[in-house]
Amino acid sequence: MLRYVLKRIGYAVLTLFFLITIVFFMMRALPGDPFIGDKTPSPTTMANMRAKYGLDKPVTVQYLMYLGNVLRGDLGTSLTYERPVVDIVKSAFAVSADLGIRALIFAVIIGVLLGAVAAIKRGGPMDTFSMVVAMIGVSVPSFILGALLQYFLALKLNQAVGHQVLAVQGWGNFKQTVLPAFALGLGSLATVSRLMRTSMLDVLNQDYIKTARAKGLSRQKILWRHAVRNAIMPVVTIMGPTTAAVLTGTFVIESIFNIPGLGKYFSMSVKDLDFTMIGGTTIFYGALLIVCTLIVDLLYGFIDPRVKLEG
């Protein structure tokens, strides 16, 4: 058990190290120069940065310095905003996390329910409905979905009703969170509901469901106590990738809905060639995903007693 946990953590640290290394060298390889353009930093900032990153020193020295800075929690200073990247990440991520968690909860709860009901009422209208939702969720990109939602459910609906039901853009109140969370979560909802449906159909055919019926349990109890509980296992396994999908989805959604989250800063920094920002946010996102996967791995071992937590 302890060995399993330590091994997983070891892998996570190693992955993070590779990530930082790759980010460092990729940044070097990017075309373009951040100091050329309309956002040239002040000479003081330039001088400070030269000294700090040792831009005149050999690449290996620069690399080691960068690694040291990152480990100390210093992701550098944004070239565009002239503020420490860590500070920006902190405030912006709070917004992204809020949005992401809303989307994730929506995707998982509705996805699991939809998938379970589709399997139970196989071939029924709910099954067809879930199929349609899944098709839309998988095939319509979130930026198109987001734009359609803005147009129909915010703009047109508000005009029709005469007052604001859902907000078109911005961030702050509940009206503003509904549409972006929906647009962000729908893809994952589709994946979760499909997986849940397949898994549920499989579980419902298992002998232990027959045993449960032979005991005299009611249909409801069989479904919730025996079937859903077992069918949800594969959904737990994909929670890592699902979280990743939602997090990366925020890049697009935050831009469309004008939400001051990390995703928006990230896309802006790419446009502005703000190298320290790009590197900092990439490493932050990477670390976040690594931690998510780690948590899911460990969690799975606790939920499913059959998973032996050994090395």
Partner: protein, 338 residues
């Protein structure tokens, strides 16, 4: 006459499939009395499980459908019983154990909890009492350290132990009838013997009647009071175990017994050595189902299903050879002795 637990009369069960109506059970009559072990034997696909599961209405309906017939379990009319009534009957009046103990328990629920669940459903006990009962049930089926075992998950049990736990669960509410559908087929030979010994032991301790479904006539000889031989959805011969082994009259029963390995052979094989295959139940023959494989087959066998002939007290068989007009009918019964 002792108390009648189960009475099935002319039961017909079909499955509605895309290919058509599969007539899995085609007029089965049988009964089980208190404290008795009835064995149902027959080749794969002859309708043993469908018959047994219909007693508990466990077959998903649809596709399954009770076409006609009667099932009386104690005072309950099973055919007419609603879903709710069936829930009260299942586990309480009749319970069932299945072939593969490895897949029959919920893998993510503690074994003890699974038994407690059954107990709480049918008996008015507090959670603590139910837990104590579950442990008592595990002890009753000779599971060592029942307190610790109750807290384990099914994957921590061996196959034989799981089947014991399944038996414990099935008997936890003291049902009148236990249906064991090939309870040892999936187990090792030595474990098989242990499980059969356990069932024999429990049968003496409690008054539960048992329907034992099996491929293995060797198991039948050691444990059943009476036997029903099924073929292609019908009971072709029924009688006491003695009748079936020594005074049998149906050619199918005789073929089954011939395929039984000699008693000194250690390995028991499934009954596969009768040449030919059973008829397709999508379009069952109008005559005797065994006709295509029967070496005594006559013209009438293919045209009309043989009536049931009584050969002795509780011993009947359906075969044209037993008809009084059939030449040599009397002697044939004798000849099969031994």
């Amino acid at each position: 006459m002792s108390e009648r637990i189960l009475e099935i009369k002319d039961l017909r069960v079909s499955f509605d499939t895309y290919a058509g109506e599969v007539q899995a059970v085609r007029g089965v009559s049988l009964h089980v009395d208190k404290g008795e072990v009835l064995a149902i034997v027959g080749e794969s696909g002859c309708g043993k499980s469908v018959t047994a599961q219909t007693v508990m209405k466990l077959n998903p309906m649809p596709p399954a459908r009770i076409v006609s017939g009667e099932i009386r379990l104690g005072e309950h009319d099973i055919v007419a019983a609603t879903d709710k009534e069936m829930q009260a009957i299942r586990g309480r009046e009749v319970s069932m154990i299945f072939q593969d103990p490895m897949t029959c328990m919920n893998p993510t629920m503690q074994v003890g909890k699974q038994i407690v669940e059954a107990i709480k459903l049918h008996r008015k006990l507090s959670p603590e009492e139910a837990k104590a009962e579950a442990i008592r049930c595990l002890k009753q089926v000779n599971i060592p350290n029942p307190e610790e075992r109750a807290k384990q998950y099914p994957h921590e049990f061996s196959g034989g132990m799981r089947q014991r736990a399944m038996i414990a669960m099935a008997l936890s509410c003291d049902p009148k009838l236990l249906i064991a559908d090939e309870p040892t087929t999936a187990l090792d030979v030595t474990i098989q013997a242990q499980i059969m010994d356990l069932l024999a032991e429990l049968k003496d301790q409690i008054s539960t009647a048992i329907i034992l479904i099996t491929h293995d006539l060797g198991v039948v000889a050691g444990s059943a009071d009476r036997v029903a031989v099924m073929y292609a959805g019908k009971v072709v011969e029924t009688g006491s175990t003695q009748d079936i082994f020594y005074r049998n009259a149906h050619p199918y029963t005789q073929a089954l017994l011939k395929s039984l390995p000699s008693p000194d052979a250690t390995k028991r094989e499934p009954l596969v050595s009768i040449p030919g295959t059973p008829p397709d139940l999508l379009s069952p023959p109008k005559g005797c189902g065994f006709a295509a494989r029967c070496k005594h087959c006559m013209k009438i066998c293919q045209e009309e299903y043989p009536p049931e002939f009584t050969l002795g007290e509780g011993h009947t068989a359906s075969c044209w050879l037993l008809h009084p007009d059939c030449p040599g009918a009397a002697e044939r019964g004798e000849k099969n002795d031994g």
